[in-house]
């Protein structure tokens, strides 16, 4: 018991420490220009382990580099502010801007009517060409009119214009959009789709990493009718305000030559286009060679993600257990005839509360809860994504734990309570010293199962920008454009973590004695 307490304290201290570090790194004061981007959209922005002249550190998660970073740095310099890059998922960009977590979105985002409703865009900072990525050996490689793709299976990135423009092709098979380019590239290579809509620089990045693919340019007036310029997004309603004007002015001062130079530099620096160190071209490497390369090159990114994933899983399980103990116990106090009216009312209210808590938190996806709570409470609590993530996963786990503890309490023979009450122990003492220790012991497999679940489900918290193992993996995949290989590494890491956790849990179970009922498995 003492050891348990000590371990708990250590974990708590660790959580606080990490929380504080994050806090320090993410103070959004007047001297910093905080920019949100995916760090997963080569050549506009990507994540890397290697610092360059143009890269910006994103804490333990390595560096962010790319065209967007250079533009952001340039503007920050002109504003006289320090640059800070915040890595966010595409869907997380707008809420972060709204809540004031970031000052600007510079993420290769195109200004369109729908987005204009929630964001005030500057003038474009890059204009490119809309192309199609196809397999190099297919008949599509020679097309020059979008209508030639009629009847073909075409895909575009989710929540972007590249998805909506597909319908401009008559009779097209419009595939369900995917979130990232690496995913779509795999779909194309596996003949699931016949073409991916893309902006030229992105397409060039893809083809550089995947030599089996090619770019289809369209002839004049035969291409997509779309605005391919990208703009800086600023907070809705800020147009005309001092900050907006300053950013716009800074952007205006970046000359065309400078912009072309930035893009060239980004194209040159982007990962995996250059020759690998061992001199073997990527296209010649087999699957496992690529996997090994990714693991070797990007292990610090994975390691950082593992650290965050473990913190989330352990903190979530422990605090979730505490919440579950409290709620499960409250739920288990039955209303008795002998109770005073006040006690009866208190018990009924607590039953209703626990019922509601479990109903809502177990009945909605954690991803939705995270999104909702994080941005709702952000203005009041000023919490960092990691702090928020730890709280949200704890609160969510608490709902499951409450049910586990409640059924654990129910499984204890009524005689245990009677024995304790007969020697004069109070309800609370009976619960704390007799019932709960047995309930916890009996439910250890289920409690341990929650830890395993949390190791995996913490990945959902990437929607609020928690840089966990999964989020790091998408970054790596986005940087190297090798989806299967990267996530093969990720799977191995997750499997390793859950295996270790299982071994530890088995040891604990053995030490605490076997649960009473053998059928209660994981």
């Amino acid at each position: 018991m003492k050891k348990l307490r000590l371990g708990f304290l250590c974990l708590f201290a660790l959580a606080m420490l990490v929380g504080c570090q994050e806090q320090k790194a993410r103070v959004n004061d007047e001297n910093t220009f905080v920019v949100g981007m995916e760090c997963n959209y080569t050549p506009f922005n990507w994540q890397t382990m290697n610092a360059t002249d143009t890269s910006v550190s994103i804490g333990g998660a390595g560096y962010c580099d790319g065209y967007d970073v250079m533009i952001a740095q340039n503007i920050a310099d002109k504003l006289g502010q320090e640059i800070e890059i915040k890595k966010l998922s595409w869907e997380g960009l707008l809420p972060a801007l709204e809540s004031g977590e970031i000052d600007a979105i510079i993420a290769g985002m195109t200004a369109d009517e729908t987005r204009e409703k929630g964001i005030d865009f500057t003038t474009p900072y890059y204009e490119s060409e809309m192309v199609m990525i196809t397999r190099g050996d297919g008949e599509e490689a020679s097309y020059d009119d979008i209508q030639q793709f009629g009847g073909k299976n075409i895909i575009g990135q989710k929540s972007t214009n590249y998805d909506t423009v597909i319908d401009q092709i008559e009779n097209v098979q419009h595939a369900t959009p995917k979130a990232t380019y690496p995913e779509m590239v795999v779909a194309l290579q596996k003949h699931e789709v016949d073409g991916i809509t893309a902006e030229l620089p992105v397409a060039q990045g893809v083809v550089a990493s995947n030599p089996d693919l090619t770019i289809v340019h369209f002839a004049e007036d035969k291409g997509f009718d779309i605005d391919t310029s990208v703009s800086i997004g600023l907070k809705e309603g800020s147009r005309g305000a001092e900050f907006y004007e300053k950013v716009q002015k800074a952007l205006d001062e970046i000359s065309d030559e400078q912009r072309v130079g930035y893009m060239e530099s980004a194209r040159k620096n982007q990962p995996e286009t250059g020759e690998p160190t061992d001199g073997i071209a990527i296209k010649d490497q087999g699957f496992f060679a690529k996997v090994t390369n990714i693991a070797k090159e990007y292990w610090p990114l994975f390691a950082y993600g593992v650290q965050i994933t473990l913190i989330l899983a352990f903190v979530g399980t422990l605090f979730g257990l505490l919440i579950g103990l409290l709620l499960g116990t409250l739920r288990s106090f039955t209303v008795e005839e002998s109770d005073s009216l006040l006690v009866k009312i208190c018990k009924k209210i607590s039953h209703a509360f626990v019922g509601f808590y479990v109903w809502v938190l177990r009945g909605t996806p954690m991803m939705v809860q995270a999104f909702f709570l994080y941005y709702l409470l952000k203005p009041i609590l000023q919490w960092t994504p990691l702090t928020a993530g730890m709280i949200i996963i704890s609160v969510n786990t608490g709902a499951y734990m409450a049910e586990i503890i409640r059924s654990g309490i129910q499984s204890i023979d009524k005689g245990q309570t009677e024995g304790a009450r007969s020697i004069g122990m109070t309800n609370l003492q009976t619960m704390m010293f007799i019932i709960l220790p047995q309930a916890i012991k009996n439910q250890l497999p289920s409690i341990g199962n929650q830890l395993i679940v949390n190791i995996k489900d913490s990945s959902m918290l990437n929607v609020i920008g928690v840089v966990d193992l999964y989020f790091q993996s998408t970054s790596v995949a986005g940087s190297v454009y090798q989806f299967s290989e990267t996530f093969f590494v990720t799977s191995l890491v997750y499997l390793f973590l859950t295996t270790i956790a299982t071994v530890i849990l088995n040891l604990i179970e053995k030490r605490m004695g076997h649960p009473k009922t053998l059928e209660r498995g994981v």
């Binding site: 005839e337 024995g419 009450r421 007969s422 020697i423 003492q429 007799i434 047995q438």
Partner: protein, 243 residues
Amino acid sequence: MDTTIIKVEHLKKSFGKQEVLKDVNFHIDKGEVISILGSSGSGKSTLLRCINLLENPDGGCIYFHDKDVKSLELNQYRSKVGMVFQSFNLFDNMNVLENCMIGQIKVLKRNKQEAKEKAMLYLEKVGMSDFASKPSTQLSGGQKQRVAIARALCMDPEVLLFDEPTSALDPEMVEEVLKVIQDLAKEGLTMAIVTHEMQFAKDVSKRIIFMDQGVIVEEGTPEEVFEHTKHDRTKAFLHRFKQ
């Protein structure tokens, strides 16, 4: 004159529509051993459980030293009225010694040293001191019941209630438990015992109470009840046992 520890007046208890205790009046005096006999369903166990307030009586009064128990602090009262169950109800998460210490520490607020000494004293008395550090789940039924008795004694109760203490035991273990209760009786401990062990009841009791269908039918010394039985229902019951 003996002082009365427990007095029960017009006790009523129903479970749903079934009236288990109809109108029970009885008392336990200091130093006496009472055995409560009766066929199953006659309300004997419910009577004991009502005295300990594990069940809430529907009507009537229970007095502890002439004070209505409703006016007493429930847990303080319970610590003074010990209970030994048919199913032992030892705490499965503790060893033998801990079972005997937890109540002393948490309810009587004794310090650990004091509680341990007391626990060992009573474990010695029931012949279980060698098992002090054994998990309670690893004991035999008879051993469990002896520990349960020690646990109850550790609270220094003024009266000890036994609810069929040997009914869940294998036959060869009944003796060891009855022996312990007999020793306690010799020392003058106040006890009320619900039991089906007729010979034991006869030997150990100062008074016998026979219950049937929720009421006390007959009450008297063992000799009066066993040898000069007045009521037909008692006769029928005793007759069944003699066979």
